[in-house]
Subunit: 474 residues, 2 copies
C-alpha cells in the first residue's frame, strides 16, 4: 500500500528485523521438511544468539526449545514475530503481536493479493499501520546478515561478508544470489526479501541501508513500485553517499501479469520508460540482466566511482581487448588511444612488451607476458596522472603464470590505491582463472570471467560519478 | 589475402592440420619455457600417436626425440610443418616444406602484417599459393581435437568432447574457451586458431567442419574478413545442415585499429551493419557478447531448432520467470499465455502446484515444488502437441531437492526426445546448481546459470529454424 515518504517509526524498527533480541516463530513445526521447522533450524545453525520462541498450539517442544500456544503465552518480550501459518490465521497472529508489543512482524505466508485476495491483504496492512507495527511481506523468503550470523527464513545459505545490501521482492532470485555468494566471492552486508511489500517499502530499507556501516552499495530487485515518491526521496538521500543499483522486471506484456501473480505487483499502465525516468530522477543505476545486476553491484560496492573516461586496458590477449573496446563503445564510454591521453605513456609501457605487442589501448602486452612485464605496465599506467583508471585482463596462454600475475596486480593495486582510482580485472578461462577471480575479489578487486562483464562494471563506476556530479549541482 | 571461393586443394589438405601422421616442429627448443618446447610437450602429453620430428640446427635431441637440422634432413614423409622460428627465417622453412612435399604448414610466429610487415606476409602467402601448400596463420596459437587426442600449439588445455567446432582468429579467446571447457562442460569437436588468416580462410574451415561428423555447430570468432564472397558461399552450403554462430569484433572506432594491431585484420570502411548484412545473407547467427557466443553455440550444438514460438516455461521461482519473459520480449520472441496456446494445459498443470502457484506462463509451480510436481508439470507440457518447447528452471529454495529435480528433468527429456522439440534449462545458485548444470550438459541438455543466458539460447534455436525455412525457400 502506498506511502508518501519513508516512515520514521518503520525505519526505527527495521533494526529488529535484522538484529532482534528475541524471535517468536509462529507456525513452528516439528516436521523437518516444513518451513516452520526450517526457520528455527536456520536460526540456530547459522549462530543466532538471541532467544527463539516456537509458537504452535499443538506442541510442547520444537527443535529442543520450549514451544508456546500463542505469542501471548511467551514469558519475555518479543522483538520479531515471524509468521508461517496459513493466510486465514494471520489476522489473529497480528492482533497478538500488537498486544505483545512486538517491534516488527515478518509474514512469510503466501496466498494473499497475488492470488486475488486484495481485501484481506489490505485489511491486514491497515491494521498494522493503525497499530504502528511494521509488517514485512507477506509472501517472502526471509532476511539475514553474515555480520550478525543471522539467517531468518527458509534460506539454505548465508552469504559471505561484503559490501552489497540486497533488497529483493523475489525470493528465488535472492536465494540464487545467496547461493552463489560463497562460490563466487560475492559479499553482502545484509539481505531481505520483501515479497508483496504490503506495508514496509523499498524506501524504508533504503534509508536503513544508508545508515548501515557495512553497506557500501544497495542492490534492489523490483517487480512493482507502489510508492515512487517515497522511493525517489529515499534514493536522493542515499545516492550521494552510496550507489543504488536496480533491476526492474515485469515490463513485458506477459510480465505485467506474471509480476502480479508472483508478488501482487501492479504494473498496468507503467512501462520500462516510466521506470527509467524514476531511476534517472533519483540517481539509481538500472541493470538489464541478472548477471549485470550482480556484476555492477559488486564493483560499485568495492571501488570508488570513475571520475573520467581515460581508461587504460592492459591485457595479454588481443581478443579480450577487442571484445572490451567494442563493448565500451556500445555502452557509450568509448576508449581513447594512449597517445591522445598521455603522450609518453605508450613509450614507457613499450619497455614491458615484445615488438609484436601493441601500445594502442587496449594495450596488448602479448600472450608471452610475464609477471614482471605486467607489473611494469600496470605501474606505468596506474601512476600516470593522465589516466583515470586501469583495467587489467589475464588470458591463460601456455606461458602465463596466472597466480603470479594476480599477485602482481594485487601488489600494484595496493601500492596505488591511495590515488583513489578504481581498478577492475578480467580473467577468462578455466579453473585457475576462477581461483584468480576469487582471490582478487577477496582483496577488494572486482574481477570477472568475461570482458563484457568487466566493461559493464566499469561503465557503472563511470555512471555513478556522473550521477554524483549531477546531484551535487542541484 | 582474398579468395573468391573455398579452394578444394586447401579443403582436401585441412585433414592434415587436425589428423597428421607426422609433424615437423621447426623451432623446437630444449628450454621448457619456450613455445618451441611447449608444442612438442603438448603433442606428447595429450596422446599424439604419430611421429614428431623436432627441427633445430643446434640440437641433436629434444624432449627425448631425435632432432634434425632442417626439414630436408628428416628421413620419412612430413604431413604438417609447425613453424615457431622468428619471422625472417620463415621463408626458408616454407621453401623446405615445399621441397619436402609437406601437406600443410602452420605458422605460429608473430610480427608479420600486424606490425606493418604487409609485404613480407603477402610474399610468403603468394609463395604458398603458387606451390599449392596451404598455410594456416601466421600469428596463431594452434589447433586440436579431443576426438583425436590432438593438441598442437602452445595450448595448456584440451577441451572435452562435444558438438562445437571453434574457429577463432584470437588465440586468447580460444584459450579461454578451451580452459573453461572442462569446468563448464562445454564440449568441442575441434578447434583452430587462424591468427592473421593470410592464406587459409574461415570459409575453408567451414567446409571442413561441414564434413566433420563430430561437429554439430560451428562457432566462429572473427576480427576481419578478407573474403566475404567465400564466407557466404561456405555458409550457404553448411547452414541448412549445421548452424553457424559468429562473433565479429573490431567494429568500434578504436577496435578498427586494435583488430589490425592484433591480427592484421582490416576493418576500415566496414561497419557492424555491413557484417550484419553478410551474416544475414548467409544464415549465420551473430552473437554480441562472448558469453552469448558460447551459450548459443552450445544450445545449437546440442538441440534441434525451435520450430514455433509456443514456449512453456516451468519454474519454481517467479523471479526467474519474470527475468525470462521480459528478456524473451526484449529479444523479439514474446511468450504466450498457456490458455492461448493450449486451452486445457493450464488446468492439467494446476494439479502439480499449490494454490499460490501460477499457471500463466511462465508457469510458477512455486518454491515448494517437489520432484514429483516438476515431473508432472514437465510431462504435461512436453507431450502437448500445442507446445513447441519446454524451458525448465530450478531455484534452490530451502525445500528444493535440486539433484532429484535434475534427474526428473533428464528422465522427462529422454522420454519425450523423440518428439523433436528442444529442451533448455536454467539453474541459478551455488555449488549444487553448478553440479546440476554440469550433469544436464552431460546429458545433452543446454543448461545455464542465469535466466537471460537460457533465453538467449532459446532465441538462437528459434532463429535457426527461421533461417532454415528461409534458405529452403530459395
Amino acid at each position: 500500500m502506498k506511502i508518501d515518504a519513508p516512515r520514521q517509526y518503520v525505519i526505527d524498527n527495521l533494526k529488529y528485523a535484522l538484529n532482534p533480541s528475541s524471535i517468536a516463530v509462529v507456525g513452528a513445526s516439528r516436521y523437518s521438511s516444513k518451513v516452520g521447522y526450517k526457520v528455527i533450524e536456520g536460526l540456530k545453525n547459522w549462530g543466532y544468539k538471541g532467544t527463539i520462541y516456537p509458537v504452535n498450539p499443538r506442541a510442547n517442544q520444537i527443535g529442543g526449545l520450549r514451544a508456546y500456544k500463542t505469542i501471548l503465552d511467551i514469558p519475555g518480550p518479543v522483538d520479531l514475530v515471524f509468521v508461517a501459518v496459513p493466510a486465514h490465521l494471520v489476522k489473529m497472529v497480528l492482533e497478538h503481536a500488537v498486544t505483545k508489543k512486538a517491534k516488527i512482524v515478518v509474514i512469510a505466508t503466501s496466498a494473499f493479493k497475488e492470488i486475488g485476495r486484495v481485501d484481506l491483504q489490505d485489511r491486514l496492512t491497515q491494521f498494522c499501520r493503525d497499530s504502528r507495527l511494521p509488517l514485512i511481506g507477506p509472501n517472502l523468503v526471509g532476511m539475514g546478515s553474515p555480520y550478525l550470523n543471522f539467517n531468518c527464513g527458509f534460506i539454505p545459505y548465508l552469504p559471505i561478508k561484503g559490501p552489497v545490501a540486497m533488497i529483493s521482492q523475489s525470493g528465488a532470485n535472492l536465494l540464487a544470489a545467496l547461493g552463489a555468494s560463497k562460490t563466487t566471492n560475492f559479499g553482502m552486508s545484509f539481505f531481505v526479501g520483501l515479497g508483496n511489500k504490503a506495508d514496509v517499502d523499498f524506501s524504508e530499507f533504503i534509508v536503513y541501508a544508508e545508515n548501515d556501516s557495512n553497506t557500501k552499495c544497495l542492490a534492489i530487485y523490483l517487480e512493482g513500485m507502489d510508492s515512487p515518491e517515497a522511493f525517489i526521496k529515499a534514493c536522493r538521500s542515499v545516492v550521494p553517499k552510496k550507489p543504488v543499483v536496480t533491476i526492474k522486471v515485469g515490463g513485458s506484456q506477459i510480465g505485467v501479469k506474471a509480476a502480479f501473480a508472483h508478488t501482487a505487483s501492479e504494473n498496468q499502465g507503467t512501462s520500462d520508460d516510466y521506470f527509467d525516468k524514476i531511476f534517472e530522477q533519483c540517481g539509481a543505476i538500472r541493470a538489464t540482466t541478472w548477471q549485470e545486476f550482480l556484476d555492477i553491484s559488486l564493483a560499485l560496492g568495492m571501488q570508488p566511482e570513475l571520475k573520467g573516461d581515460r581508461i587504460v586496458m592492459i591485457t595479454n590477449g588481443g581478443g579480450s581487448g577487442l571484445l572490451s573496446c567494442d563493448h565500451f563503445e556500445r555502452c557509450g564510454v568509448p576508449m581513447h588511444e594512449l597517445k591522445v591521453m598521455s603522450p609518453n605513456l605508450g613509450q614507457r609501457i613499450r619497455t614491458y612488451m615484445p615488438m609484436f605487442g601493441s601500445p594502442l589501448n587496449p594495450v596488448d602486452i602479448a600472450g608471452t607476458a610475464s609477471p614482471v612485464q605486467y607489473k611494469g605496465a600496470l605501474r606505468q599506467a596506474m601512476r600516470d596522472s593522465n589516466v583515470d583508471m586501469v583495467y587489467c585482463s589475464i588470458c591463460p596462454t601456455a606461458v602465463t603464470d596466472v597466480p603470479a600475475v594476480v599477485d602482481v596486480a594485487i601488489e600494484m593495486y595496493d601500492t596505488y590505491k591511495y590515488l583513489g582510482k578504481p581498478f577492475v580485472m578480467e580473467c577468462q578461462g578455466g579453473a585457475e582463472c576462477h581461483e584468480a577471480i576469487m582471490k582478487l575479489r577477496d582483496h577488494g578487486i572486482p574481477a570477472y570471467p568475461t570482458p563484457e562483464q568487466a566493461v559493464n562494471a566499469i561503465v557503472a563506476l563511470r555512471k555513478y560519478a556522473k550521477i554524483k556530479e549531477k546531484l551535487a549541482k542541484r
